[in-house]
């Protein structure tokens, strides 16, 4: 028997082995959670700087401006602006959302929800976190460089990201950081996939897994396959920058260039498009589960939802070209990518229908995790549907690289995935830390965020359709865009509102960690495996590996005689 296979390891006793170099998936999950929240805050602060600049160009940033930009009297300078949105995008995607949704929930939920004592490879799991940590450190160092951090956009298209456009060390460190993060993600993915396949509790078939696990599992598969593609891309980019190869160099400014800058775009999006589903699949999974749990009835068409998510996973590998319509690929490719992109709306519509079917005729409890899940349905509707405008080649010719795109992906990522993440945090916090979060503050956080983010992102869609393109320091050098000043101001105010309400979350989180009421074993009254054990679970999770006898969503069964309206997965399904 080897390392990870469901044995009971002795509990580590020293501080070092318990909290730092921990092999325990629950501790690693918490490490990822802190890591993610830290970077979420950092990325969010950057977003506020971005927004301030866009609404009030040339006006010093209040309070902190003079501290951060003494040379320009507190005004964000143009080169800093470019670094800001580059780092904002990079940090939010790789260092905030990925650690929270995949690092934290993946580690915490997968073993607990499938009835395992730990991941298949605990040591790899530990390494995965520390690689991510290293990567984060490299990224943070790059922020302090004299020539500044990377400033070519999170997509880092060459030739801008080669020496021609980014002479500083920042872009090199960016590539290195992304590569290290890729190694970390791949390690995590290897672990998740293996764990789900080999360590499911006896009796648990694939369709008995909670949909959260489905989402995380599909995510891990995509990660294992496509992160190395980005890895190859950034290695070549690094070679170009450090050793003078010319993989991505071309044109008159490249001395010996006969490479191909567009190749990087292909490589980036072969990874990049699956990446956006990597981010959202866990959120879809969480939402599908929570809607059922809090409607007190089985997930509507759970099998179809799982299969639809699988279909999206498969399709997501085939549509990447929709990010490159304006580079003029061959007509055949262009049309195929458009058609395939549109096809994704069908599985999406199916699980939307299932989500609505789940709350239909339920007995809905509006606890905070449920509110956030319902919020996801709302914002992902908007985010997904605006994807259609972009997937259509002709309209994309106008919308590409405008704020319409920015609005679309903030709705899908910064709204849907973020709210999904919050739903997960509110839901599993009791199990993670053994205490309840404050419900009132959670509700304030929800409504404040909903108002804030819809203000921001709908505003973005509007200015985008109005013709404002992205990544510009001062849009109002274009006379035709000056009419959009009021809307931009409105977006910025919404962003500040959004930011303020995130503080409520942070306070709630920290407060509940110390002072929250002790959580019972099963505060939400649901039947998946993690709720059959104490909160927080003991080191080895399960004293006895549970045997699974029914599905994860057995709620509201009228035949139940136990006085509960749900049954645990370890109980035989009660039939009439």
């Amino acid at each position: 028997m080897s390392g990870g296979f469901n044995e009971i390891h002795p509990e580590p006793t020293t501080f070092w082995s318990k909290y730092i170099i921990s092999f325990d998936h629950k501790v690693i999950a918490k490490q990822f959670l802190w890591y993610g929240i830290f970077f979420l805050g950092l990325g969010g602060m950057m977003a506020l700087l971005i927004r301030w600049t866009l609404a009030y160009p040339g006006v010093p940033f209040p309070l902190l401006g003079n501290l951060m930009f003494p040379d320009s009297a507190g005004v964000v300078p143009p080169d800093t602006y470019a670094m800001l949105f580059t780092m904002h995008g990079t940090i939010m995607i790789f260092y905030a959302i990925t650690p929270i949704l995949i690092g934290a929930f993946g580690n915490f939920c997968i073993p607990l929800m499938i009835g395992a004592r730990d991941m298949a490879f605990p040591m790899l799991n530990m390494l995965s976190f520390w690689f991510a940590f290293l990567s984060g450190v490299v990224l943070l160092i790059s922020l302090g460089l004299p020539l500044g951090a990377a400033a070519g956009g999170w997509t880092s298209y060459p030739t801008l990201s080669t020496i021609i456009g980014q002479p500083g060390l920042g872009q090199t460190l960016w590539s290195l950081a992304i590569f290290l993060f890729g190694v970390s993600s791949t390690m995590g993915a290897v672990n998740y996939v293996t764990t789900v396949i080999t360590l499911r509790a006896p009796g648990m078939g694939y369709f008995d897994m909670p949909l959260t696990v489905w989402g995380l599992w599909l995510t891990a598969i995509l990660n294992a396959i496509f992160v190395p593609v980005l890895g190859a891309g950034v290695i070549l980019l690094m070679l170009d920058r450090v050793f003078g190869t010319t993989f991505f160099l071309a044109g008159a400014s490249a001395t010996s260039g006969n490479g191909d800058p567009v190749l990087f775009q292909h490589v980036f999006w072969i990874f990049g498009h699956p990446e956006v589903y990597i981010l959202i699949l866990p959120a879809w999974g969480i939402v599908s589960d929570l809607l059922s749990f809090f409607s007190r009835k089985p997930a509507f068409g759970a099998k179809a939802t799982a299969l639809a998510m699988t279909a999206v996973t498969i399709l997501s590998t085939l549509v990447y070209g929709h990010h490159m319509f304006t580079t003029q690929m061959s007509p055949l490719l262009t049309q195929s990518f458009m058609t395939l992109t549109m096809t994704i709306s069908i599985p999406s519509a199916i699980f939307f229908a299932n989500w609505l079917g789940t709350i239909w005729k339920g007995s809905i409890r509006f606890d905070s995790p449920m509110l956030f899940s319902l919020g996801v349905v709302f914002v992902f509707g908007l985010g997904g549907l605006t994807g259609l405008h972009l997937g259509t080649v002709t309209t994309d010719l106008y919308l590409h690289d405008t704020y319409f795109v920015v609005g679309h992906f903030h709705y899908t990522m910064a709204a849907s995935v973020l709210l999904g993440g919050y739903a997960g945090i509110y839901f599993w916090f009791p199990k993670m830390f053994g205490r309840m979060m404050h419900e009132g503050m959670a509700k304030i956080h929800f409504w404040g965020s909903m108002i804030g983010l819809n203000g921001i992102f709908f505003g973005m869609l509007m200015v985008g359709y109005g013709g404002m393109h992205r990544r510009i320091y001062n849009p109002f050098v274009y006379e035709s865009l000056q009419r959009l000043i009021p809307i931009n101001t409105f977006i910025t105010i919404s962003a500040i509102v959004m930011g303020l309400f995130q503080i409520v979350f942070v306070i709630n989180f920290l407060y509940s960690l110390k002072k929250g009421p002790k959580a019972t074993q099963n505060p939400w009254e649901v039947g998946t495996l993690e709720w059959t054990i104490p909160s927080p679970p003991v080191h080895h999770n399960y004293d006895v590996i549970p045997v699974v006898k029914c599905g994860p969503h057995e709620l509201g069964n009228p035949n139940l005689k136990t006085g509960r309206d749900f049954q645990y997965q370890t109980e035989e399904l009660v039939q009439g």
């Binding site: 080897s2 790899l124 993915a189 293996t194 190859a232 050793f243 490479g259 191909d260």
Partner: protein, 181 residues
């Protein structure tokens, strides 16, 4: 099969899938460069001599053969160690040959920065070599483990072997596409 065997086999499969995707991306890039180039190698480049690449290929194939024997004869620890040592020596020889090859390229005037042709030659062999270094490290680790003994020895031998074969296969594909074709 035992559960832990399945588990480690699966884990290794995922690692190899990831590795394959990395090299597949490189080869896709190569295909695009090659098909869109007017001449390959570009006009004015001396044809590269195949001496060292051929030797490298032979070495890595041979090393794979001995690596395979490690597991076949793992009942006999002494033999296993000897085969592993041979694999290690051949592995280091491979790295040596690669270094000689790079030197030869450099001396023939083909520098890293001389354009896309040399970028591909150097870049791809470097990336492969970096993986060989990782392979050598796992071989050394296995050598250590063989000496000290461990649980699940056969699973570990099998996984290192798979990784080593993988490196060999990638090299052969690179040899065929970059040098022969």
């Amino acid at each position: 099969m035992r559960r832990s065997e399945i588990q480690h086999g699966l884990g290794m499969t995922m690692v190899l899938i990831s590795g394959t995707m990395l090299f597949a991306t490189l080869l896709m890039g190569y295909a695009i460069y090659r098909t869109s180039a007017t001449a390959w190698p570009p006009v004015g480049t001396n044809p590269i001599s195949l001496g060292f690449p051929i030797l490298s290929t032979l070495t890595i194939v041979l090393s794979s053969y001995f690596m395979r024997k490690v597991r076949m004869e793992s009942g006999d620890l002494k033999k296993a160690k000897m085969n592993l040592d041979t694999t290690l020596v051949l592995g280091f020889l491979f790295m040596g040959l690669q270094t000689l090859f790079w030197n030869e390229l450099k001396n023939s005037g083909l520098l890293v920065s001389s354009g896309i042709f040399s970028s591909v030659l150097y870049g791809f062999t470097w990336i492969h070599a970096a993986h060989v270094v990782m392979g050598l490290m796992s071989l050394l680790w296995l050598r250590f483990v063989l000496k000290t003994g461990t649980r699940n020895l056969d699973v570990k031998v099998l996984n290192v072997e798979k990784f080593w074969h993988f490196l060999g296969v990638i090299w052969i594909i690179m040899f065929l596409t970059l040098f022969v074709l």
